[in-house]
């Protein structure tokens, strides 16, 4: 990899690092795991970067998120015990642990419950909600990232929203 390629890598990958980390946080529901996943994903991205040309229609964001998602799922495959998708109270306690004053708790209550509702979704629903609502990908891009047809993306999103609505009311 030459220095021009390095500049291109930084220009393509670094702007989407927050997006990558957010997806990893929702997929792993844990800050440290998310950091490891993004780091591994970026290493893979480096390796395959020569193959990424950034042609018209290939969004760098979708490309990086695809690698993050695959990295997260293969990591989960390695650690069988963590494949369970039930919400684990201890996983999210770090988000509220440092914010003790009641005012802060009240202020973050809405965020907390929405974040939790998303965390409780099954992985195939959780990922489409995050990719659409938080990462702003099109159905086609979500289809590319998750490897399922656009029609499936559409029905999963709709079912995911129905579940969120149930959870929040």
């Amino acid at each position: 990899m030459e220095s021009s390629a390095l500049a291109r890598f930084e220009a393509v990958v670094l702007p989407h690092l927050d997006a990558a980390y957010t997806l990893a946080r929702y997929l792993t529901r844990n800050a440290q795991d998310a950091e490891d996943i993004v780091q591994d994903a970026c290493l893979r991205a480096l390796k395959y970067f020569e193959g990424f040309r950034g042609e018209e229609g290939t969004s760098a964001r979708a490309w990086l998120l695809t690698i993050v998602r695959n990295t997260a799922y293969s990591a989960r495959g390695h650690r069988r015990g963590e494949a369970a998708t039930e919400f684990d109270e201890t996983l999210h306690s770090d988000a509220i642990a440092d914010e003790h004053p009641e005012a802060a708790l009240l202020r973050t209550a809405a965020k907390e419950s929405l974040g939790r509702a998303i965390d409780r979704l099954a992985p195939e629903f959780r990922e489409v909600i995050v990719l659409r609502e938080l990462e702003g990908l099109s159905y086609k891009e979500i289809s590319d990232v998750t490897g399922v047809p656009v029609g499936t993306v559409m029905s999963r999103l709709s079912r995911a929203r129905a579940r969120l609505q149930e959870a929040l009311t």
Binding site: L6, L14, C42, L43, L46, G115, M154, L164
Partner: protein, 263 residues
Amino acid sequence: MSPHSSYEAQLDAYLDGELAAGDARELETHLAQCPDCTRFRDRRLELRAAIVTGAPTFEAPPALRERVRAAGREAARGARTPRHFAIRNLWRPLALAASLAVVALGSWTLARQRAAVDALADDVLASHVRSLMPGHLTDVPSSDQHTVKPWFNGRLDFSPPVYDFAGRGYPLLGGRIDYVGGQPVAALVYGRRQHMINVFLWPAARGSAGGPATRTRQGYHELHWTTGDYTYWVVSDLGLAELQEFAQLLRQADSTAAVPSPR
């Protein structure tokens, strides 16, 4: 459950701007005569607004960002990709020290400025999301710049520049008055395929020219800059590259249209 559950996924796709034009028209006809589906749509709009404003997004920790950069540099130097971050444990304290120093130096002067810009960015994003709800997009729906520009006369104390970039794939859709940062501002709406772009602008404070700066929040990109005359905020869920192209068109049009103003 709605009696028209077959419409549910379609309605979601419609609100996502992902339904083909023919299907969208059919759905709008159905919505006009079905209170159940209309209620369903309104609840979905509430949910979407709640997610955009309420679901947390996360910033990559500075140490992680630094490790990724380091890996890139390593790969560039060694011409081979490291299999693992052998230097990871070394980087942690270094990156931590570096980021602490940066924080200490920068946060003092920047914090207050940043808080103001952050509040503005939130305001702009909220206005953008609100404008996407049915019936809120434009007060003057028109693709004709010579209809949109005069519409602002008497409604604002400035006359915003209005362009049409239909030839470049960003057609003008209309304009409206919006309220951002505690003042009425001009909002111009442009389209790109299924995506909406809101351009907010108002007279700039003297000598504040700068930008453009980019922010990404909840999947929306925001670009903002200030010319000699106006402060601009451009927001959309469009890909960043295209939005930057659009901003470039706008800035070019502005600079070629700028006649020396007497003020």
